[in-house]
């Protein structure tokens, strides 16, 4: 069954028939995680790097922020039986304006914060498709953990 994960949303699944998909990843980061033995996984779409810019919102919706959201996703899949050492982690998004320098660097900041969270958890990124100027669609297939990214009409497997 197809489940759309919106901005600031997260979904965890242990059902092989589920397909989790998130659209319009611009400067946002999409994080797809999957444990191939437990067959548990999840997808999150984080918009902004640090929750401290709006603590009220962060309490209401931690998944909007990469620093909190990534941690929430990891904790949730662990609670559902996934194990850190088996977890396959893939990332898409962190797009930017055509000029990489300048103040519109939310994408880069999201990615940096994500890497920090993963590093703190001793988790490596298995594959990623980040940067550039095109929005992305990230899809996680729960039957075998296959992850694809669609961008400008082309779909590739991560």
């Amino acid at each position: 069954m197809n489940h759309t994960v919106g901005i600031g949303e997260m979904r965890v699944s242990s059902r092989p028939e589920d397909v989790l998909v998130t659209y319009s990843l611009g400067s946002c980061v999409g994080l797809a995680v999957y444990d191939p033995v437990a067959c548990v996984g999840g997808l999150i779409h984080c918009m902004l790097p640090l929750s401290k810019i709006d603590l009220q919102k962060a309490c209401a919706n931690p998944c909007m922020f990469t620093d909190l959201g990534a941690q929430v996703l990891l904790q949730t899949v662990f609670d559902h039986g996934a194990e850190k050492r088996r977890l396959v982690v893939k990332v898409a998004g962190a797009a930017e304006a055509l000029d990489r320098e300048g103040v519109f660097k939310i994408g880069e900041r999201n990615y940096t914060v994500l890497r920090k969270v993963l590093w703190k958890n001793d988790i490596l990124i298995a594959a990623e498709d980040i940067g550039g100027t095109s929005p992305r669609t990230l899809t996680l297939y729960m039957d075998n953990g296959r992850t694809t990214v669609r961008s400008r009409g082309q779909e590739v497997e991560l």
């Binding site: 000029d99 103040v103 519109f104 100027t133 929005p135 400008r152």
Partner: protein, 286 residues
């Protein structure tokens, strides 16, 4: 391959605004306008009437007390807002369509436009500035040119995409090079036909090249430019052109925009969008 004259000739038919709306906007800018006459001009078109009332009563325009009639809308909201409402009501059905060329599914351009309008106000606030009267409408309408240019971009997709993505040319520049015109200028042409005030027309014309605006006060243009960039980079209602644009350094430094401001505004845009619910889902009809 410049097709500028052909595009300009064709666009007037594609972007025809209902006669009632053109007339209403014209009347609303007359300082001595007769309210009864303006009311009749809008009510002449039942579709326009219902769209105007629906928007007038939405959180988007900030009015939560029920406005039951066009006359009441005019009296309570004033002429500037009426121009906004009529323009928005006319634009919404166009912006809701699928727009090929930019790969915008139905509703996506409207989402981007609404987000930019919200963003322009939030940006002004975050910068400690008073938002000029016209900025909201200008931001809402800034990409109207895409409705008309879409089919031309689709036909010329190969050279435009190659220029943009292989040669790293900004998307608006690629449009100009291949088609002889970009969606910003085309949008301004349309809005001029719709008789919108010059301040709005100019801000739309230069929303990717704000420093080319030759007027005295660039604030509206700069705010629209930055709000648009915030939405594009954030992927809010983005299409195939994505964030493939160059933000203007002058506009950014002139307004003193920081990364923190951008993140705050992005956050507020998303809150604003989630509050709008059915306005985004398609309440205003064709």
């Amino acid at each position: 391959m410049a097709r500028r004259p052909e595009i300009l000739a064709k666009v007037r038919s594609i972007g025809a605004m209902p006669a009632a709306a053109v007339e209403a906007i014209r009347l609303a800018q007359d300082p001595d306008v007769d309210i009864a006459k303006l009311t009749r001009a809008i009510e002449y078109d039942p579709g326009l009437t219902s769209n105007v009332l629906r928007l007038a009563n939405s959180a988007f325009f900030g009015f939560r007390r029920a406005i039951a009639s066009i006359r009441e809308a005019i009296v309570r909201l004033g002429m500037i807002r009426i121009v906004s409402l009529v323009a928005a009501s006319s634009f919404a059905p166009l912006a809701r369509r699928r727009i090929r060329g930019y790969d915008l599914p139905p509703g996506q351009l409207w989402r981007h436009s609404v987000a930019s309008a919200i963003g322009s106000l939030e940006l002004a606030q975050a910068l400690g500035l008073r938002a000029p009267d016209q900025v909201f409408t200008a931001a809402l309408l800034h990409d109207i040119g895409k409705v008309a240019l879409g089919t031309f971009v689709e036909v010329a997709a190969e050279p435009i995409m190659a220029l943009a993505f292989r040669q790293k040319v900004a998307f608006d520049a690629a449009e100009r090079q291949v088609l002889g015109i970009d969606h910003a200028e085309l949008g301004a042409v349309l809005l001029e036909d719709w008789r919108l005030p010059p301040g709005i027309v100019e801000a739309v014309a230069w929303h990717h090249l704000p420093t080319r605006f030759e007027g005295k006060d660039r604030l509206v243009t700069d705010l629209v430019h930055v709000a648009d960039q915030i939405c594009l980079v954030g992927g809010i209602g983005a299409g195939a052109d994505g964030s493939h644009y160059r933000p203007s350094e002058e506009a950014v430094s002139g307004l003193r925009v920081t990364t923190r401001v951008i993140e705050t505004v992005t956050c507020r845009i998303l809150s604003g969008l989630s509050e709008l619910g059915d306005l985004l889902a398609g309440e205003t009809g064709e």
